[in-house]
Amino acid sequence: MSGSTEFSCRELVEALTDYLEDAMPADDRARLEAHLADCDGCTNALRQFRATIRVAGHLTEEQVAEPSRESIRQVFRRWRSDQEPERGR
């Protein structure tokens, strides 16, 4: 969104990720922040997004299944043994 019109609440929430990613023109950013300063609903929406990101950060990545892990280890060992003659040169 650009130009001189103000953000409506409905528009502002669609811009929250752009805002958090710092991917907005400076004038849009200024207008968004001016709206936030005066709007409890949008302030809560922004905080909910921040909380969502924070919660996601507490998930843990899956573990690698052992058979898969072992087969990749073998890929590595074959590669390393292919490397040996070159290294000895």
Partner: protein, 217 residues
């Protein structure tokens, strides 16, 4: 992550890998393999084929180590390799997966329930909140970050179109930068951001339902 730190960490890791350090390699496997499998699985027909693709990708990584110049982060480079191999393999299988299938067809869907807003032609408050979102700042930490909340997030991610889920996992779970994610997954800057917004919006909505249910119980 600080770009300079990343480069130092990558350089140390590269030195160890090039020297044939198996522990260094397996650390990298443990860190990246689950996401590599998920990305490969987007393009190929089965989990078994995805495993083969990832095996080929690791071999490609090892063979390419001497030529890797560090113009991207190590993990971005690794993901480009797995993405390329998976796409090629998918084409050979006669599978062509449209971007819309991976990304989802709901990229323009509203982030909040449209009934949360006044009508766009309301004379006094057009498109303003009719019911404002709850204040989550009062939720105790052990609830906000508790097992129940994390379960809701995991289950929601499992229902998302795969590219939406993966962008959120790489960005918000694993802490990659937007540049790394768009390079790793071959997305435009805008697409990366739109996918991230959709994914965050859906997780937020799921959390809202969960917190509301509790408040009403």
């Amino acid at each position: 992550m600080d770009a300079a730190t990343q480069t130092v960490a990558d350089r140390e890791l590269l030195d160890r890998l090039r020297a044939g350090d198996e522990d260094a390699f397996m650390e990298l496997v443990d860190a990246l393999q689950p996401a590599m499998l998920r990305v490969a699985r987007m393009y190929v027909s089965s989990q078994a084929v995805a495993e083969e693709v990832v095996g080929d990708a690791w071999l490609g990584v090892l063979k390419g180590l001497d030529r890797f110049e560090g113009r991207s982060s190590l993990r971005t480079w690794i993901f480009r390799i797995v993405t390329n191999i998976a796409k090629t393999r998918g084409q050979r299988e006669g599978r062509s997966v449209p971007f819309a299938t991976l990304a989802g067809d709901d990229l323009d869907a509203p982030t909040f329930d449209p009934s949360s807003f006044m009508a766009s032609d309301d004379p006094r408050w057009p498109s303003h909140w009719s019911s404002i979102p709850a204040d989550w700042t009062g939720i105790p930490e052990d609830r906000l970050l508790g097992a129940e909340t994390l379960r809701v997030v995991r289950e929601t991610l499992d229902t998302l179109p795969p590219m939406q889920a993966e962008v959120l996992r790489l960005r918000d779970v694993l802490g990659w930068t937007s540049e790394e994610v768009r390079n790793a997954l071959d997305l435009t800057e805008t697409n990366q951001r739109v996918l991230l917004h959709r994914a965050r919006a859906k997780v937020r909505r799921a959390l809202e339902r969960d917190f509301e249910r509790e408040a009403n119980a």
